[in-house]
Assembly symmetry: C2
């Protein structure tokens, strides 16, 4: 284990106190919007309705028919899987239940020379199937949901990951920068929906592959376990003030999914590249949050509501305020992702320089430079639509 | 219309004779493998079985457990959609039936200033959703199947594209070059499966988007109509001796799907960039075809079997010989795609040069250069597996 990895792993473990208790998925704010009268409201109902049925809600730029049309279409594959076993099986695949497997496990197990080869093999196949980042960690059962949720009754139900499951493959898919720059808007919400639909795609294929190799595989999106702590353990990034995983390659601009397996795989180790220290001084996300749901100051132990996990020293959001804002807007908000100084295109030199500075004592210079470049400033959806409508014909020009 | 476009459009029309008859999907060789005793055999049954249930067939390099595991996993999303309405609705989405729509059409129609803006808009969204190429053409009903197929009985059934449908959006997804270079093998078959799964994804999202804009959209993969002639009319490429669409950007290394709609869209025009002339002199695909199913000589009118369309002057394959070879191998063959001189990575300069030469009188030099670069030579699956297993860790090195 590298020195940085050891420090990062120790820091992770030190954040967890004796008060720790596994999280009940029923306490997730999205679940509570269905069963908890203190959360459920005409606004939350309209939010869910606008996500699926209505493409015609209208409230100014970024919330017109085309914007909701784009947002709602981007979820289509994720929705199809979420709905396919609801009737009559009461399953919500990807939300409360893993993606169902439809073919038998292969009788024979493919043998790998060692767990490092197996890990490299699986990572390459995951990328071939469309994952942008892949990390592997041992299954830390603390981050499995204490109980799952029955999709019809919204009551708790057992969360059964078999004892023989040992590893988790964490998958990340990038959200398009051009869309994320438009949060808050229904247009930008397409970044979230595309992420979910892509994650379903990759997870479905990869879990099928592992099962075809003769090992168990459970394909999971938001169901079954908390993604962020598992992704940190799998070395995909650091935890940020904005409650997201901050990756080296895409900053916070990713969606996470996972495949649980009993295939023996070499594990990754946590990484550190200055995010924790940057978030200590940078409060751009907290300052930009319209409902003031994000914290200032140091990481603390303590839950603001039942929707926060207990016994972890970390930056914690007020999930009720956060989701209340989403519901009013009828669209998901990710301003905290948009304004993050790590939300950059790291193929560009200035972004690489900023990322480098943010891991040194010249951190303030990095933040200043990020602001100077107007990173994080919201782009207007109407401008984006005009741009994509005028950029056509490039293929035609190229091929003639 | 440009001069090249006019010539290409005239050439297309001139190929269709007075003997033309619309194609019955039931005559497709894959359908006949189910209902036609002259095609159905233990080999064809084993072929279909190996595609789905068996990941453990074994016949040397490229046909071992991991190879079939990869191939069969890559189809998972396409298979899920193909199966989801088979019981009890007798539908095979993507094969005999369009992808089912699950939400109501939006009540209001988004208005575009003109059809060119609408076309640019749709193309940009299709690419955001994952399409690599997009073209648009008027619906030419000659290329709708005369009749579709009932998935349970394999009998003909009406192919109903409503009269008010006017346009077709053609979508192409690239198949990974590294996989295509390994045909024939089960490993390479993952290129086909990934293509199908991706096409389902893009088609599902794009058709939902068009419907959210208030226009009808029918999401179609191999069902409902012939893809290649519609793609030629939509300007995505030229027809090749190997029976595929040869695109400017990826050569023959693509999969096709389509969305039928009544949204008024500006149309593309056919293109010509030397493929027809190159295929006249180049017979690499015909020479490389193990069962000798591909033609030499000029395009001709005439069907070799009921699986060929009638009344079109074109290069025509012997579909029975072609599929017979697939069935024996238990995997799809695309040697004719692998060896095509247009099967190149056109981001590289030598490939751009070859493509340029192939549209000039220096065509023979282009073909010679392509051979000199050993383009089209089969890569060994065992070598590919070793390479992907040894290339891991690059992410880790980058981020520390």
């Amino acid at each position: 284990m590298s020195y940085v990895g050891t420090v990062a792993a120790r820091r992770f473990d030190a954040q967890i106190t004796s008060n720790f208790a596994r999280f009940h998925q029923r306490d997730d704010i999205f679940c509570r919007a269905w069963w908890d009268p203190s959360i459920r409201s005409p606004d939350t109902e309209s939010f869910f309705k606008a996500s699926r049925d209505e493409a015609t809600a209208r409230r100014g730029e970024g919330f017109q028919q085309r914007d909701f049309a784009l947002r709602n279409a981007s979820w289509a594959v994720s929705d199809d899987y979420a709905n396919r076993n609801f009737d009559p099986h009461d399953l919500r695949e990807g939300y409360f239940d893993p993606l169902a497997q439809t073919r038998p496990l292969a009788d024979e197990q493919e043998k790998f020379p060692d767990s490092h080869t197996a890990a490299a093999h699986i990572k390459a196949v995951a990328k071939l199937f469309g994952a942008d980042l892949v990390g592997i960690t041992l299954l830390d059962r603390r981050f499995l949901y204490e109980a799952s949720v029955d999709a019809r009754t919204m009551e708790a139900k057992p969360n059964a990951v078999p004892e023989f499951i040992t590893h988790v493959i964490i998958l990340a898919c990038e959200m398009p920068l051009e869309l994320v720059q438009m949060y808050p808007s229904a247009t930008a919400g397409a970044a979230t929906g595309l992420g979910y639909s892509r994650e379903v795609h990759v997870c479905r294929l990869l879990s099928q592959y592992v099962r075809n190799l003769g090992y168990e595989a459970i394909a999971s999106i938001n169901d079954t376990a908390l993604n962020v702590p598992l992704a940190i353990k799998a070395g995909l990034g650091e935890y940020g003030r904005n409650q997201t995983l901050i990756t080296f390659q895409f900053g916070p601009r990713i969606r996470l999914a996972k495949v649980f397996t009993n295939l023996p795989l070499a594990c990754d180790q946590p990484i550190a590249f200055g995010v924790h220290e940057t978030c200590q001084t940078c409060t751009r996300c907290s300052r930009a949050c319209p409902p003031k749901a994000l914290p200032f100051g140091d990481p603390q132990e303590g839950a603001l509501s039942r929707s926060n996990i207990r016994g972890v020293i970390k930056w914690t959001s007020d999930a009720e305020k956060c989701f209340g804002y989403w519901a009013k807007m009828r669209a998901d908000c990710a301003i905290c992702i948009r304004v993050c100084p790590y939300n950059r295109d790291f193929s560009k030199f200035p972004s690489k320089l900023i990322r480098f500075l943010l891991r040194t004592r010249l951190r303030s210079l990095g933040l200043w430079l990020s602001d100077r470049l107007r990173s994080g400033v919201r782009r207007r959806p109407s401008v984006w639509w005009r741009r994509i409508e005028s950029s056509a014909g490039s293929r035609e020009r190229e091929s003639r």
